[in-house]
């Protein structure tokens, strides 16, 4: 618990230190994540649980430490994802906008470079995104869709594992302000 407290205090100390990335990465990383989601599950259906666009959007939101930027990134990636899906445009957009906004808001208070915290954030925001998407589907679109909690929790856990690894990988492209 002391480590978490240390992380919190370190996050407070590091508040305001936003990471910068090459401009191409803002395009290529989401594009690669969307391509992965579009292409890979064709051959490996089990990988369809991976919400890589969400993880990439959360990462940029966390590391940019600016809720406005996070919301914008989430909106763009979500809309792009919606454009390639059978859903109406905006479902993923709104979900990811809110998720990335809150993620960026949290990054102002925590040390988001801690792997454990990244895992927990990945787990939490995946659940949040899925729940909000389900809520929008039921509330706005009136679709009778289920929300399988055990399956969603397992998927959240797996996405959190992938998030921890993916965030470490994307850290290589980071440039501190």
């Amino acid at each position: 618990m002391s480590r978490l407290e240390d992380s919190l205090s370190a996050g407070l100390a590091a508040r305001g230190k936003a990471a910068r990335f090459p401009a191409a990465l803002y395009v290529l990383a989401p594009l690669a994540a969307i391509l992965f989601q579009v292409y890979v599950p064709r051959f490996i259906e089990a990988l369809s649980y991976l919400e890589l666009p969400l993880l990439v959007a959360i990462y940029f939101a966390l590391m940019r430490r600016k809720p406005a930027s996070g919301a914008l990134i989430g909106c763009v990636i979500g809309l792009a994802q919606d454009a390639l899906s059978p859903h109406p445009l905006g479902m993923n957009g709104i979900s990811k906008t809110l998720s990335c906004y809150f993620a960026a808001s949290l990054s102002l208070r925590f040390d988001v470079e801690n792997t454990v915290l990244r895992f927990l954030l990945g787990f939490f925001f995946y659940l949040f995104h899925q729940f909000f998407f389900w809520s929008l589907s039921r509330g706005l679109l009136g679709q009778a869709v289920d929300f399988p909690i055990p399956q969603t929790v397992i998927s959240a856990f797996l996405n959190a594992v992938v998030a921890a690894a993916l965030f470490s990988f994307l850290d290589r492209f980071r440039r501190e302000d």
Binding site: V38, Y39, A71, A83, P88, G90, T97, S105
Partner: protein, 369 residues
């Protein structure tokens, strides 16, 4: 207002984005129409990449598929090669076993067919030294093998035992230098001495230039050497030409055309018959009744001989001389009148003697002097 937006810039942007998307959603739901422009842009951005990915995947998949297929083919090829090698070895082994069994069977049949008492032996090695033309066989003096015994196969004579040890014997092949066998030709009854030359062929000495002999004619053992029973095939004439002291005759030993693996040692030889011309040499040792001598009927030849001891040519010659001297009233071994051996004995005078001339199978005995 500006200060409010500046203070709550993040929240304002969030609200703007969320409300904008909610309106977009509402428009789509209400009008049941899509927003094709955004989708077209998105698909236009992603599709080429997806196509490239698919092409790359197909190529990689094809490559790996081909690679693994080829690797499987190679592995299968290696496995089949190995299996083929094993089968070839097995086939060679079985063929050798079959050949050996066939040879052993043929040898056994031949052994049962010939009147001589024989012992089947197997070649276990070759004599030491270059071109020794000798082989070791797996039976020795403890099995009754003695020095001087003949070694034969169904194809013909092989040689003779030159040394008998308790567990093995050394057989000198007929092609060895110094090896000799008394032979007679099948067709023209030309007699001679078959001698080994150290090579693949043998010579037949003591054949006069006037003796009719043709290439292809078979020589059989005559039994006069008291080693090989009479009537065994010795070989076929390959070359005949006139020489100074007589004809030069080369004979290819019939038993040594291929490598010898098994043979028979003649423990107790019994003379056979020389087959008539045209008969296959394999039938050289025949159990048929003996053919009548020149000028004698088959019935007479079939009659039992009163003198079963007259077996060899020398025996018959001695018997003839005894009849001649008896007919002329001359006593052999006593000084005085000498018998005329050129005169033919009266045919009717001594019918028993005529029967005695009939060649019949019998044990090898030394001719009486």
């Amino acid at each position: 207002m500006d200060s409010f937006l500046g203070r709550y810039r993040n929240l304002s942007l969030l609200l703007l984005l969320v409300v904008g998307q909610l309106l977009l959603l509402a428009y789509q739901v209400r009008s049941s129409q899509d927003v094709p422009l955004i989708r077209v842009w998105a698909v236009a951005a992603v599709a080429p990449l997806a196509r490239g990915l698919e092409s790359g995947r197909a190529a990689a998949s094809g490559f790996f598929s081909d690679y693994f297929i080829l690797r499987d083919v190679r592995a299968e090829n290696e496995r089949l090669k190995k299996e083929l090698g094993e089968l070839r070895l097995k086939n060679h082994f079985l063929a050798a076993e079959l050949a050996s069994a066939e040879r052993a069977k043929a040898l056994e049949q031949y052994r049962a067919r010939i009147p001589s008492k024989t012992l089947a032996v197997r070649v276990i090695g070759a004599g030491v030294g270059p071109d020794t033309k000798t082989v070791f066989v797996d039976r020795g003096s403890s099995d009754g093998v003695q020095k001087g015994m003949a070694a034969i196969t169904p194809e013909g004579i092989v040689g003779k035992v030159v040394a008998a040890y308790p567990m093995a014997s050394l057989v000198q092949l007929i092609t060895a230098q110094g090896a000799v066998a008394s032979v007679v030709s099948q067709k023209s009854r030309v007699r001679g001495a078959l001698k080994g030359t150290g090579g693949a062929l043998c010579t037949v000495d003591h054949v006069e230039n006037k003796d009719p002999l043709e290439p292809g004619e078979w020589f059989y053992t005559s039994g006069n050497d008291r080693v090989f029973p009479r009537g065994l095939p010795a070989g076929q004439v390959t070359l005949v030409r006139e020489g100074r002291g007589g004809k030069e005759v080369l004979v290819a030993p019939s038993a040594l055309k291929s490598r010898i693996e098994e043979m028979l040692i003649v423990l107790d030889g019994v003379h056979g018959l020389i087959p008539p011309p045209g008969e296959p040499p394999a039938e050289g040792v025949s159990l048929l009744p003996p053919p009548p001598p020149d000028g004698q009927t088959a019935e007479a030849a079939a009659a039992p001989s009163s003198n079963s001891g007259a077996l060899t040519d020398a025996d018959r010659l001695a018997e003839r001389y005894r009849r001649l001297t008896a007919a002329q009233g001359v006593q052999l071994g006593v000084k005085g009148r000498v018998a005329d051996f050129a005169r033919e004995p009266a045919a009717a005078a001594d019918p028993a003697a005529k029967k005695a001339e009939t060649p019949a199978p019998g044990r090898m005995e030394p001719p009486r002097p």
